[in-house]
Amino acid sequence: MADTTARPSPEQVRWRTHGRTRRSTRTLRMRTSAVIVTLVVLAVLVVPPLVNLDEQAVDLALKLQPPSPAHPFGTDDVGRDLLLRCVYGLRVSLLVGLVAALVATVIGTAVGAAAAAFGGWVDRIVMRLVDTFSSVPHLLLGIFIVAMFRPGVWPVIVSVALTHWLSTARIVRSEVLSLRSRPYIDAAVSGGASRLRVIVRHLLPGVMPQAALAAVLMVPHAMWHESALSFLGLGLPSHQASLGNLIQTARSSLLAGDWWPTLFPGLFLIIPTLAIAGLAGAWRERINPRRRSELML
């Protein structure tokens, strides 16, 4: 055709839109993640009080029904509606993830900031302790901690929180160490500020963005840990819907060829955690634009 000669060649188009394509995938990822996270939050907050159904309701006549209009996700091996159980399971996982990440971040920030701010032998002892704890596999330590309590939500939260503050402590410590040598800390010392005031007024506000980011990135990690513990039968009691429990009880039916009790809880675990991680990634690029340009090179 005659008019095609006027168009730029494919190379030119790619060259010109190169930057724009990158940027649009980034905002696409951020938008998709934001939409999914919003849907998840709405689902776990609104659905349970609104539908007012019993997610424990057993109907043996309807056991292992494939997905249908009445039960969009099908039913499990004792005839409970899987969609409802997935929503309740996600609610528990999200709760555990949020609370555990929050507690872990508070512990990690306090320990890391104290170690870096005091320095010297305090720093050395505290960080060697952190190294010692990190050398034990997280899951093993987590199993040890949950095994000491009766199964329930709180032991899982304690177990996940107590095994996950180490990385935050390291991040906060290195961040405080770099802030501590800035002249404005010298100026504060010279202005008569006490050690505590330097930490609270100048150092902690400086590490807040990094600590908050670490907290958000930890939520999906904590959710996976909760599921892993429940899958191993050490987390929540098995009648209570949790994503790990759902996958655990679905194992036997998967071998019989019934795919839905495994697939849907799995997707409920993977998609929201990826969405939260995606949002956190977009946030990290925003607070640290230099690292973004390094990544793009």
Partner: protein, 225 residues
Amino acid sequence: MLELAAVTAGYERGRPVVRDAHLTVHPGESVGLLGPSGCGKSTLARVAALLHRPDAGTVTLDGTRVQGWRHRAPRAQRTAIGVVFQQPRLSADPRLRLRDLIGEPLRATGRRDEVPSRVAELSATVGLGDDLLGRRPHEVSDGQLQRACLARALVLRPRWLVCDEMTAMLDASTTAALVAVVEEYRSAHGAGLLTVGHDRVLLERWCDRTVRWDEVAPGAAPVQG
């Protein structure tokens, strides 16, 4: 009297930046310390401001031998010395508005009630308008920020001032304005001044006495580069 005797200081064990330095500043006197960049004069200024513990040597402040540095120094000793640093960007907490930046030493020493009056007084002295006081460091220029940093150094009415290349980043008119503020403060309060720099003309016009780095630390290793 602010007296540094046989001070050896550095950042790594066995590699001192300053060797065997002697320097005395009398009350009300202004001393300019002149040296090339990288010779260790900022380190000596940090030792004099009780911000860096020397490896050897003594510092005597108003007749008392200094026993500890940074937080180990008593608050009265630390706040007797006002410090102005070379780079205002790095010496201002990026989260504090200029108003809070200037008043911070008063808050830190539990004199919160003096904050409004002192901040108003000092911002007029250093020439900062009311709209600038409400801004954060990234919203003002280097010169404006250095004015705020000088006001912060003066807010506790120190008996000594240590200015480490205070005007190195600034244009001539801001330099003149800040030097005038320091001199005005000194004549009103009789404070001693140690100012560090590499600009011979400026220091000789500003100070009662200028000393060269090789007079302060005769044993200094030749500066590389």
